[in-house]
């Protein structure tokens, strides 16, 4: 692969001029109008973590209210708004854009050895759409909020007096942000891979972003159309979903889940991609079963479009339809299981480095195993009937979405933090916080499995006395989570000011983003890069003096300095 390289080149060290993307250009306008994918990524990161904080505050208020049956700190109507806002903010503002827009935006061009994404202006437009959509959502929260649940089921949503129109309009605009990001990633991956990087030499994170992007582009328009129909029904009285106007409320559920089930995989696929990167780097070993993992991402993306009906097993749809959707639902279990086994096999005979990102990988494997396996209960028809719309479902999707996606997102943040900001965080506090999150999370949500299978329905303000111990344990767990995240916010912010300077490659990753300065220069690379095997960890060597991993053959990934003929 490295044949024919024109010049012998040396690895860069921190950008020759000392400039990097954070210092190139000053002032708020240089950020707001930037076309640099790294700056857009940082802005997304700030906004998305802000949304996570907001959604988290709603969650803590919900858990506090549920400390005892009946009124504890708020009325039933306020509680209904709280759980709706928790869901809507976490899903539309945080977890759907989360990994692709914040981490993917930063890493994707770097992994390709490229200067930027293929369509930088569309990237900025995507961020502006996010800002616009988020603003509309926040305004609708202030002017009256929504009490429909994040699912906006009709005919409740077409008859309630809360701010449904503005909230769905916000979600509609956010959809464009998601479509633009997905489109951009597809084009970038197709057109900007460097010399030597064939499809099956791509880092697995890119495979997962690619599968995600396909879902974003194909499924999101359906959500947009559905929300527009809902708005049309509410404002113009067109009968589509409301039986009082001649509509069909179950039709809404089909439309809604045709997007929102694939959306679950928009959330989890990139997380799986992060785990694939991390497990290889922190095991000091080549990923096991690259092709199976890559194909399983595509398989999940395809299957994700065929299983929406499992949200509607009790909706009154026919038994035949239920049977088909149950069978198809189980198909998603297979690629997920394959990935887990491949990750475990990657650790076999490795040299496992238990730094903070790896702790998140271990957390992920533990929690995602529970999240995935409890999916078997819910996919199975007769058991689903009992568990449908109970806390068992709430626990299941939090194990997948939080135990899976959020944990992987945190792993990714800790992994790429030195690259993004050029600083190391406190490893000690990172470990404390990872451990607290693990404990707090299990206490919060495992109890919910048990109360759910005993029949505690979800979205309940009031509940039977027998469920009180479970609810109280769950609430205590949520407070532990709150403390853990405060610790994390502290040491990450602290690192920006006081953190040790990060070397180019502190963890020993063989993907291309580790072959440039930390933080990278505005144009990413000073050389045209060559795409080698991204998991060729044994091509690296730890340099004890600088705490940096260096290539044994430094010239192998550089084609020629940029600008050379």
């Amino acid at each position: 692969m490295a044949e024919g390289h024109s010049a012998v080149v040396t690895p860069m060290s921190g950008g020759a001029s000392g400039e990097n993307y954070l210092t190139t250009g000053k002032g708020p306008l240089s950020w707001l109008f930037t076309l640099d994918h790294k700056r857009i990524s940082v802005m997304y990161m700030v906004c998305i973590l802000g949304s996570f904080l907001l959604g988290g505050v709603f969650a803590l208020l919900i858990r506090t209210e549920l400390w005892a049956p009946g009124a504890t700190i708020m009325t039933a109507d306020t509680y209904n708004k709280m759980f709706t806002l928790h869901g809507a903010v976490m899903i539309f503002l945080f977890i759907i854009p989360g990994i692709p827009a914040a981490l993917g935006n930063f890493v994707l061009p770097l992994m390709l050895g490229a200067k930027d994404v293929a369509l930088p202006r569309l990237n900025l437009l995507s961020f502006w759409c996010w800002l616009a959509g988020a603003t509309v959502c926040l305004v609708s929260i202030v002017v009256g909020a929504v009490d429909t649940g994040w699912t906006f089921y009709t005919p409740y949503s077409t008859t309630t007096s809360t701010a449904v129109v503005s909230m769905t309009l916000g979600a509609f605009i956010l959809g464009f942000s998601s479509i633009f990001t997905g489109l951009n990633f597809i084009v970038t991956i197709h057109t900007m891979r460097p010399e030597g990087m064939t499809w099956f030499k791509m880092p697995l994170f890119l495979w997962s972003l690619y599968s995600t992007a396909i879902i974003q582009v194909l499924a999101t328009p359906v959500l947009g159309i559905t929300l527009l129909l809902l708005i049309a029904e509410r404002t113009l009285g067109v009968g589509i979903f409301d039986p009082a106007l001649g509509g069909d409320p179950v039709l809404y559920q089909h439309f809604f889940w045709f997007y929102s089930h694939p959306a679950v995989y928009i959330m989890i696929l990139p997380a799986m991609g992060i785990i694939s990167e991390l497990v290889s780097v922190f095991s000091g070993k080549h990923i096991f079963g690259y092709k199976f993992i890559a194909w399983s991402s595509i398989a999940i993306a395809v299957f994700s479009f065929l299983v929406w009906g499992h949200h509607m097993f009790t909706s009154g749809q026919s038994g035949l339809v239920n049977m088909i959707f149950s069978a198809l639902t189980f198909s998603v279990a297979i690629p997920s299981a394959v990935k887990v086994f491949n990750w475990l096999a990657t650790m076999y005979k490795g040299a496992i480095n238990l730094a903070a990102p790896m702790l998140y990988v271990l957390s992920f494997l533990f929690l995602f195993a529970i999240g995935g396996l409890t999916g078997l209960f819910l996919g199975s028809l007769s058991v689903n009937i009992h568990l449908h719309d109970t806390y068992f479902v709430v626990a299941h999707f939090h194990y997948v979405m939080f135990g899976g996606t959020v944990i992987a997102f945190l792993g990714g943040i800790h992994y790429w933090w030195p690259k993004m900001f050029g600083r190391m965080y406190s490893e000690f506090w990172a470990r404390i916080s990872a451990a607290l999150i693990f404990v707090g999370f299990n206490l919060t949500f495992f109890t919910q499995f048990v109360m759910g299978s005993h029949g505690m329905p979800r979205r309940y303000y009031n509940y039977l006395e027998v469920f009180k111990p479970y609810h109280q344990a769950s609430t205590v767990g949520s407070y532990i989570l709150g403390v853990a995240f405060m610790i994390m916010a502290y040491y990450l912010l602290h690192s920006l000011v006081r953190g040790e300077k990060a070397p180019e490659n502190p963890w020993g990753g063989a993907t291309l983003e580790w072959a440039t300065a930390s933080p990278p220069i505005a144009t990413n690379f000073e050389h045209e890069m060559v795409g080698l095997d991204p998991y060729d960890i044994d091509s690296l060597k730890f340099d004890r003096q600088t705490g940096n991993y260096v290539r044994k053959d430094p010239g192998s990934i550089f084609l020629k300095p940029i600008g050379d003929e």
Binding site: G289, I334, M347, L354, L365, G379, S380, H454
Partner: protein
């Protein structure tokens, strides 16, 4: 061998006690279908615990055994795949999920196909109460059924989507406006069991509960006969109070002056109420009758127009009884 032994042990730990009582995971089994559902739940639980323990143990063993040692500098070249191994761990989950799907579908067929001789009860959901109509036309707020006889529910909603859920029976079905859905069960043990609304429906969602009262076989018929004739055997005021309790009035209207979704009935009769359109109305027999049949025609100021109509659902003598009851709540007649 060790793995099958471990599996056996797990299965013993999680199996339900023989008497059908509550377990760590499940409420008591009180319908014919519950045993089948719980068996499958436990079967999946066994598989899940096995794989979960396998994953976590393997992971921990690797973490301990292959921890990065001091002085480690570079990785040796290593195997990057093993197609046979990977096909194996693709194939085993495929086989297992096929089995789980099959059992799930089989018991689902049983729980969704009511026997031909089932006793039919009509269920109506509305914000935020249930009403159950028996074949003779009697309506109750709780579901009374005979033990050991299949009961089929024909359900619909007056307003938004609700969901009829009895955990002890493992029965759940959405109750949808504009269409009928069906559910059936056969209760095995006399007693009282909770009915929940499982589909979010607004302010009173979590209080939209009722009871299933399972009568020992032979006692259901006499109960229904006695319950159906209450207007003949009671005074209009007593009958009105019973209607107030069982037909869903009390979820929204208090009789002690307290604020709920609708105006209180306490000292309501004869009062002048200002309406949302700015007019005033005196609460008399005709206003009460109109408010039952066309509830959103004259809404009292400060309240939302959310009450469903009782047109066709209350007979004239029932309306008369409710009027008599509301009249009696003048604060002087006293609690009779």
């Amino acid at each position: 061998m060790i793995l099958t032994g471990l599996f056996d042990m797990m299965m013993r730990l999680i199996r339900a006690p023989e008497d059908g009582g509550a377990t760590f995971w499940m409420p008591p089994q009180s319908s014919t279908i519950a045993g089948e559902v719980d068996w499958l739940f436990n079967f999946i639980l066994g598989i899940s615990v096995f794989f979960f323990v396998l994953i976590v143990v393997v992971m921990l063993v690797f973490v301990v055994k292959y921890r990065r040692r001091e002085g480690w500098e570079t990785a040796p070249a290593s195997t990057s795949h093993n197609t046979l191994l990977e096909l194996t761990w693709t194939g085993i989950p495929v086989a297992l999920v096929v089995v789980i799907f099959f059992f799930g579908f089989k018991s689902y067929l049983n729980m969704s196909t009511p026997p031909a001789n089932a006793y039919e009860i009509q269920v109506s959901g509305q914000k935020w109460n249930w009403s159950f109509t028996y074949p003779n036309g009697y309506v109750d707020q709780n579901l009374h059924v005979p033990a050991d006889r299949p009961v089929e529910l024909l359900m619909t909603s007056v307003d938004v989507i609700h969901s009829f859920y009895v955990p002890a029976f493992r029965v759940k079905m959405d109750v949808v406006p504009g269409r009928y859905t069906k559910a059936w069960f056969e209760a095995t043990m006399p007693g009282e069991y909770n009915i929940f609304c499982a589909e979010y429906c607004g302010t009173g969602h979590s209080d939209m509960s009722a009871m299933v009262i399972v009568h020992p076989s032979g006692e259901f018929g006499p109960w229904l006969e006695k319950a159906s004739n209450f207007l003949l055997t009671m005074t209009p005021v007593e009958g009105g109070r019973k209607l107030y309790e069982i037909r869903g009035c009390q979820q929204c209207h208090s009789v002690d002056g307290g604020a709920r979704t609708g105006p209180t009935f306490f000292k309501l009769f004869g009062k002048d109420e200002s309406l949302t359109d700015g007019l005033t109305v005196t609460v008399d027999e005709n206003y009460i009758r109109e408010s039952l049949l066309e509830p959103n025609a004259k809404v009292v100021a400060g309240f939302e127009a959310v009450m469903p109509t009782y047109q066709g659902r209350l007979k004239d003598d029932e309306i008369a009884a409710l009027i008599a009851y509301i009249k009696s709540l003048d604060g002087k007649t006293g609690e009779e």
